[in-house]
Amino acid sequence: MSADSKPLVECRGLVKTFRLPALAAGPGSREFRAVDGLSLAVYPGETLALVGESGCGKSTTGRLLLRLEKPSAGTVTFEGRDLAALSAARLRTQRSRMQMIFQDPYGSLNPRLTVGAALAEPLRIHWRLSGKSLRERIAGLLENVGLRPEHARRYPHEFSGGQRQRIAIARAVSVNPGFVVADEPVSSLDISIQGQILKLLIELKKSLGMAMLFISHDLAVVRQISDRVAVMYRGRLVELAPAGELFSRPLHPYTRLLLSCVLAPRPGRKGAPPDIRSPEATGYRGFGCSFAGRCPLEIAACTRETPELRELYPDHYAACLVAGGKPLPDISR
């Protein structure tokens, strides 16, 4: 997106630490930094994909942006307003502008509410609809996501996974939010259903003009849907670039590693497998590149200096001391 338009959602220096139970923590730190100083902006109407391996903090970031969790440090602003400064009641009003789609459509719908009752909730709260106008809106929403109006009377367990995800999507877009966080919305679905749901998301996004944070670990899916891609590793952003640029010219060694896992369709082929050294314990050292120790391009400076995101090409940022053909001089030798 162009740098001059104003961001819809923006976070600065976002940190979320979780306290580990004493036994799981092992020696040293009892805290786990799921998100570690993340700054990111989502612009109106764009789809920003957030990718990374499981446990890297993608989902936590999504929840922090919607203030479903409180950040340990840092700020989240929505349309210029600091979400932390809002009262509980004001925040609930604000929620009509920001919605979420969950990974597991079996868990995200209350089994005791009919589909109609689930869809009615946001409409009653934010639009104060009732009676006929409410029923009509629900029928319209169900049709928009490829279901039938009479499905409103049924319970979630009467639907397949794909249909449930359609219902969850209908709920998320029901009050025309400007921003939706989609947390791995297709990864629990069959491959054949994934395509349909993705198509639906793309269509809805286009017709409603909303911005989306699309959280995924599946780069093939990300490629189809996103305008920009942000790559996360251990709670930090390591690369941020327009989608086409990222796939054609990945800069960060971690991004390259991720891409090499996707783009090798013939597993039997000869050639060196990507060099994946097993990650060490996830203790936070507080300095140095988090990918150091696993990185094929590692230089001595990587364990001492924390790389910041640098704009190596127009709109293409990477947090790596080595990437971009401009290695920093190694002072130690």
Partner: protein, 278 residues
């Protein structure tokens, strides 16, 4: 639910027993051959016969009639006490589980205190405070004693349900905390709660029986099963029917409610159910 309900033999037997008892208690007026309070000096301690199928007690009252009317007392006390403890326990448990923090801490320590007392002692103490114990006071006492278990259970369920995605979804939609508890969390604890309440009825009937046995429950001449056993205990070796029939009634009732509760657990517990089927 229907398929599994039919498959669970425990549930069917339990349901049959409970229905039989409820019906016989409701229709006691029609089924009982005599007035349960009518004293007949001519046939004191008569063994079971055609006129008195369960025999008569030391005042010549018909044991069958007294057992039938006694069912009314037992079932009323059991059910009313469960309603009281169910409401109080759900309120405390839901509040503790949902609010967390110091609210949870205070409420749960209070629950621990109630649970730390032996039920018997607590019930005896409270009943003794009342100057003249009556049936109406028993279920209040049982309710006061029983809420703690329900509160613990509801709290645990609320803690589990609270973490599920649809609760987060409700929050992200903008539902108020009260709406989340009432519409999203509590309905999803109903399965477990139903089981606990059914088992609670059995426990309460048993407690009422021994409280009456100790003279702290229903007072003579009211036909309470526990009180009937007290009256018959001195003749147990020579005139066993005075004790045996009310004893059997207690046995069958408690067995029936326990089997119903266990059966309901089999049917309602989502962990035993395949995904999505209720």
């Amino acid at each position: 639910m229907s398929l599994r309900a039919y498959r669970s033999i425990t549930l069917r037997i339990g349901l049959a027993l409970v229905l039989l008892l409820v019906l016989s208690a409701l229709c006691a007026g029609l089924l009982a051959p005599c007035d349960p309070l009518r004293v007949d000096v001519a046939s004191v301690m008569a063994p079971p016969s055609l006129a008195h199928p369960f025999g008569t007690d030391y005042l010549g009252r018909d044991v069958l009639s007294r057992v039938l009317y006694g069912g009314r007392i037992s079932l009323t006390v059991g059910v009313l006490a469960v309603i009281i403890s169910g409401l109080a326990g759900t309120l405390v448990g839901a509040l503790a589980g949902f609010a967390g923090g110091w609210v949870d801490e205070v409420l749960m320590r209070l629950t621990d205190i109630v649970l730390a007392f032996p039920t018997a002692l607590l019930a005896l103490a409270v009943m003794a405070i009342f100057e003249n114990p009556t049936v109406g006071k028993i279920f209040i006492v049982l309710g006061l004693v029983g809420w703690a278990n329900i509160a613990r259970l509801v709290r645990a369920e609320v803690l589990a349900v609270k973490e599920r995605d649809f609760v987060t979804a409700a929050r992200s939609v903008g539902v108020s905390p009260l709406g989340i508890v009432i519409r999203h969390i509590l309905p999803n604890t109903l399965g477990t709660l139903t089981v606990a309440l059914t088992l609670g009825v059995a426990g309460n009937i048993l407690t009422e029986a021994w409280l009456s046995f100790l003279g702290l429950g229903a007072q003579p001449p009211l036909p309470s099963w526990g009180a009937m056993i007290t009256e018959g205990q001195y003749f147990l070796t020579t005139r066993p029917w005075v004790c045996i029939f009310p004893g059997l009634a207690i046995l069958l009732t408690v067995l029936g409610f326990n089997m119903l509760g266990d059966g309901l657990r089999d049917v309602l517990d989502p962990r035993l159910n395949p995904r999505g089927r209720r």
